[in-house]
Symmetry: C2
Subunit: 366 residues, 2 copies
Amino acid sequence: MSELKKSDERIRIKDIATLANVSAGTVDRVIHNRGGVAPESKKRIEEILNEMNFKPNKMAQLLAVKKEYKLVVLLPEAVQGDYWWDIIEGIKRAEEEVADYHVKTEILQFNQYNMESFAGLAQRLLEMNPAGVLMAPFFRREVLKLTKELEERSIPFVFVDSNVESVNSLAYYGQQSHQSGYVAAKIMLSSLEQFSTILLVHMQRSGGTSIGSNQTARREEGFLAYIEKYSLESSYQIVRVNLHAEDDGGNEALLEEVFSQNQNIRGIVMFNSRIYRIADFLEKRKIRNIRTIGYDLLERNVQYLKNGMVECLIAQRPQLQGYYGLTALARHLAFKQVSKSVCYMPIDILFKENITDYKVYPFDVD
Amino acid sequence: MSELKKSDERIRIKDIATLANVSAGTVDRVIHNRGGVAPESKKRIEEILNEMNFKPNKMAQLLAVKKEYKLVVLLPEAVQGDYWWDIIEGIKRAEEEVADYHVKTEILQFNQYNMESFAGLAQRLLEMNPAGVLMAPFFRREVLKLTKELEERSIPFVFVDSNVESVNSLAYYGQQSHQSGYVAAKIMLSSLEQFSTILLVHMQRSGGTSIGSNQTARREEGFLAYIEKYSLESSYQIVRVNLHAEDDGGNEALLEEVFSQNQNIRGIVMFNSRIYRIADFLEKRKIRNIRTIGYDLLERNVQYLKNGMVECLIAQRPQLQGYYGLTALARHLAFKQVSKSVCYMPIDILFKENITDYKVYPFDVD
DNA sequence: GCGCGGATTGTGCACGAGCACATATTTATA
DNA sequence: TATAAATATGTGCTCGTGCACAATCCGCGC
């Protein structure tokens, strides 16, 4: 005999069935619009469902359902320690957590300096007919082509890193790069004596393309925007230098030259993650009394932060972009929880004093 | 016959059992240390579990397990718009999400100015014999008494707001108040002309206790620490004023007086969430050209941020303390995922330019 | 009245883990 | 050696939902 639920317990399909004088199967048919139910029954059951505010047990649902969701991730190739690597780390973490939702992930990585590479993988992605897509939108034309096709096939997609506002993505997780540059300027210029020189260090590959994502340019824009906003152009002198990503010997020479030509350098900012190279230089030359700001918590950056050679690191938890992005897709597919949103990662400002307990994720699992 | 799992499918207890030539029941006994297993079998099974990296299916686990967990939350009384209110909001959100884990929550609220109130509820809490406790540790002696008892009963507990390092909590979620004051100083002092006056506004209840949590004092300490670190005491003049939480007419008079006595006020900082009161005053008096920094995203604060009367708001997502705290407890209980940790909320620095897409939570559910 | 077909509705198994109880195997004891 | 006791292991049901298949009902034509 079918036990009546206790008052405080969650209502089940079986309870609805009892109340409507039908079997669980019929209720199920109504819930899933599977047809084959007499109109009167359907109406009655729907009323009771509403009245009782029935919410299916997600656990039971996931356990019962055999549907498999294959997500495809489309990101640039990554090497350890770089921004994209971190994003992938976040994706892997999310992957483990959503494994129970029957979500599987495949990662495709393109060469970010080669459009054909992106286009080719976009094609391959479509052939895989995924249930959802997470991507970093590079090469606008190609992205539009891809998202158009995805929209036509009703495949949800999420952007990380940068957004493409004109298309209808499920969500976007990104960094406020401009803003972080703005903050960097505030920090740098506070208690920096007037008429000092500030050195902005850039870095290029041999090809001429700057390293990192295109976020670095935005950071610099933000930095300069601050200076402009408070009309500080005349109070500080800005000097730039271009280092080479590969060749370190040459870089030293370049820095030597800049320092000899600018005796009053009091601040150095680097908008990519390689501030440790500057710290290397400063330490070697025993140069003190220069304030340095960099980005990202590479091992070596953190060491220099702790020993004082780097004053401040700005971090934006790139891992979370991947983590949230994938989680959003999985939840959307498995639970129909729509999570249409734009969300920026926090801008973490790290000094010697607060680096110790810094955490990217709020939980340590396992 | 027991089907062999397909290579890419997730490994189940049954698979482990097959590999170890035992039944699922025996594997289950090993996993849960329930004893009654021959040493050789146990060893063999454990090896296979490790080798195969077995992770139980959470859905199946939750569905099977009948255990109910009652969590008790012990926080100060809250009114809408205040810090504790936000923490409770986060708790409620988490509550919904962990409802499927058979976790129920009860909130007890004490008068934060009255020790007996805390002690009484602590007693009541113990009588409820909860499965876990989330609390804001007020009244050190009482907290130690309570946590000692909890430890003896092996009831896990999580701190929010402030930490008590000497006891063995499962986790602590808090704000880096000192640090946020430090950052506030950086922001305030950048591009503030030398020898200006900075006004620090305090607020008191009629009783004499300052409002907000005891975080406000820490914020001010951080602010002053920055000034000290860069030896800026002589470059800026710091002036203080004490407003009353209740009486607004009197406050105006007080501010009038301060302004008349200090002609060179160029910056105002308030370490609690009431910066809008200052903005009210400034707007009424049509005073411009003063940089204001406040805390927390009250509706009115945000309005003033948008219209420029407040330059910067610092927010630390108090909601997340509650949200993470409760989630950590629930996961710990339901999944044995230990998450022993100290975790600080991000320090969000909000200007007119980046307030628009600000989000406390990364997902919009439902 | 019988049978057929379509429309409804009911039933039973699967999902993976937990757990109580049943059974098998070994060891101890008279 | 028989038998109880202790140890070790296996079996089968449970949780709530999804879904395939089975069972029923009703009306119609012959």
